[in-house]
């Protein structure tokens, strides 16, 4: 492990940092209030101009300000959903890989079953039932995304479990809890970090997809996915409305993909 960042990690980290800064300082950075009509429009979106660099939507709201504030929801949902995803996936994968036997069998068959369920459809159904809110969306996204994490963590835990230092600890009579916390979990950290980064790009896309389908954080809170959904009827007359929020989603997802790919390159093939 070299302490120096590789090129992917550097660019990815800078992009993520820029997103975090935009999200934190949104009220300072945004030129207008994102939920108020600030341009005199009469039901027609206005094209980009000096006053409104990315144009305004049909209600006269500034697109740039809405995108800046949208970073908040996207980051909060994306990162918290990954936390939920990792919590479930690591717990199940670790238990299966460490204890083996019938625990492994039952947990992995449960994972197989969850893998056959269509994630987006399941998420749509659960969010509809729970009513869309910040909390319900991030919980549901985590709940439908953990299967991949569980499988990878199980495989990794299985291999760490067989290594000499873990076997030695067991021979010395270390209890399971101590072996997991002191020996297995620290060795799983590198792969967990990779999955956290790559997983965030996945949760960001799922969140964007849900809000595109009208199942995002409810209005008036600006969300990138819903901005695109609202813009689809204007795609002929006001193409900028759908273009810019999409670039924002793309930028956020790409930043975490670059970071995750950079982390991945550190691991021996």
């Amino acid at each position: 492990m070299t302490p120096r960042l590789n090129r992917f990690e550097t660019i990815g980290a800078l992009m993520v940092l820029s997103l975090v800064i935009v999200a934190i300082f949104a009220p300072i950075l945004a030129p207008y209030n994102p939920t108020r009509a600030v341009a005199p429009t009469f039901g027609n979106p206005a094209p980009p101009s000096a006053a409104f660099p990315l144009g305004t939507d049909e209600l006269g709201r500034d697109v740039l300000s809405r995108i800046i504030f949208g970073a908040r929801i996207s980051l909060i949902v994306g990162v918290s959903a990954v936390a939920v995803e990792l919590l479930i996936g690591v717990a199940i994968g670790l238990a299966a890989g460490f204890f083996g036997g019938s625990i492994d069998f039952i947990l992995m068959r449960f994972t197989d079953v969850m893998l056959t369920l269509p994630g987006l459809l399941l998420a749509m159904a659960l969010v509809t039932v729970l009513r869309p809110s910040l909390l319900s969306i991030l919980l549901v996204i985590g709940l439908v995304s953990w299967t991949g994490v569980a499988r990878v963590v199980r495989a990794e835990a299985l291999s760490v479990r067989g290594r000499d230092f873990v076997v030695a600890a067991q021979a010395l009579g270390a209890p399971a809890r101590r072996m997991i916390i002191r020996h297995v979990l620290p060795n799983l950290l590198p792969i967990i970090v990779v999955m956290a980064a790559l997983g965030t790009s996945g949760t960001l896309l799922l969140d964007a997809g849900l809000s595109f389908l009208g199942l995002g954080v409810p209005p008036p809170t600006p969300s990138w996915g819903r901005m695109i959904e609202e813009a689809t009827i204007y795609f002929r007359t006001a193409p900028w409305l759908a273009t810019f929020p999409g670039i924002a989603i793309f930028y956020a997802v790409m930043s975490f993909n670059l970071l995750g790919y950079g982390f991945l390159r550190r691991r021996p093939q």
């Binding site: 197989d112 369920l117 459809l121 749509m124 509809t128 964007a208 759908a242 997802v253 093939q269």
Partner: protein, 309 residues
């Protein structure tokens, strides 16, 4: 070998059973009352009670589940609360549109993946490889519904090449197919690149090169066949996913497939239809898994000759 196939089939059946239980439990906790959904909010209590009794909703959960399972095994997934039609009829009706799109998208994804993967592996570690890596990461990072909308804006509006929405004729297939294929094609190309470069280091390939075969021929004739195997697994499962409907792409292009059906079902809380589409999707995934296992059996002699577990 027969034992292996039998084990895979039993395994698939067990997974499906598990899926049906989870789907049923989710549907059971949905706080929508089917009787109200059918009779309307103003129905009198007597009518509601009758409907509940007819649907068997007044019985214990396990009885309801047993009945549901029994019907499902016989191909009856119940009736849609809203459309009043059989769920299986609705799915069969929508399947052709989805199937056409799924097969076209998979074909294009594989073509893109194999072509770009070969190029990246042939120039491994050099400029074309790096460029393709960045391009692939970019396509994987694009939300599919945005890519579709942008294609509509660029192609549909300015060039007027293709019909924009709905399913009318083969040219309407182009935009949704491209939308679905760019991301997965880019992903496949990276998988193939990894497998190919690993295969090129194997003894049998190095032996072929040592005997005088060019690197390019060694890659095409010897390494490619082995590198394609893992891609086949991935493609099989992805095809099952595509066949069970692609909600976002079908929404953007107003494509009359199973994805739209599922979308409507969720918005109307049409429970039998939601359960039906979910189970249908799970069935396809299980069948795809089985198919992939069988294809492996055929392609990989190591499994066929007794190392199978």
């Amino acid at each position: 070998m027969i034992g292996y196939i039998a084990r895979r089939i039993v395994f698939g059946a067990v997974v499906l059973l598990g899926t049906s239980i989870i789907t049923f439990l989710i549907a059971f906790v949905i706080p929508a009352d089917p009787a109200v959904a059918m009779a309307g909010a103003k129905a009198n209590p007597q009518t509601l009670a009758t409907i509940r009794h007819e649907l068997g909703l007044d019985e214990p959960v396990y009885v309801q589940y047993a009945r549901y399972l029994d019907r499902a095994i016989h191909g009856d997934l119940g009736r849609s609360y809203i459309r009043r039609e059989r769920v299986t009829t609705l799915i069969v009706e929508r399947f052709p549109a989805t199937a056409v799109l799924a097969i076209a998208a998979m074909a294009l994804s594989l073509a893109i993946g194999v072509a770009l993967g070969l190029v990246a592996a042939a120039w491994n570690g050099r400029a074309p490889d790096h460029l393709l890596l960045i391009v692939s990461l970019a396509f994987v990072s694009m939300p599919v519904f945005w890519l579709g909308t942008i294609l509509l804006i660029v192609v549909g509006l300015d060039l007027r090449l293709f019909p924009l929405c709905g399913f009318d004729g083969w040219s309407s297939l182009v935009l949704p197919t491209v939308t679905l294929s760019l991301g997965s094609g880019a992903y496949y190309s990276r998988i193939l690149h990894t497998n190919l470069t690993a295969a090129m280091e194997q003894d049998y390939v190095r032996a072929a090169i040592a005997k005088g075969l060019s690197r390019r021929s060694a890659m095409m004739r010897h390494a490619l066949a082995n590198a394609l195997l893992p891609l086949a697994t991935l493609a099989g499962l992805d095809l099952a996913g595509l066949l069970s409907g692609v909600v976002l792409t079908e929404t953007v292009f107003n494509w009359p497939g199973i994805g739209r059906l599922a979308y409507e079902a969720v918005f109307n809380l049409d429970i039998p239809l939601i359960m039906g589409t979910v189970l249908f999707s799970a069935l396809l995934i299980v069948l795809a898994n089985l198919a992939v296992d069988l294809v492996y059996l055929w392609l990989d002699p190591r499994i066929r000759l007794g190392n199978a577990r």
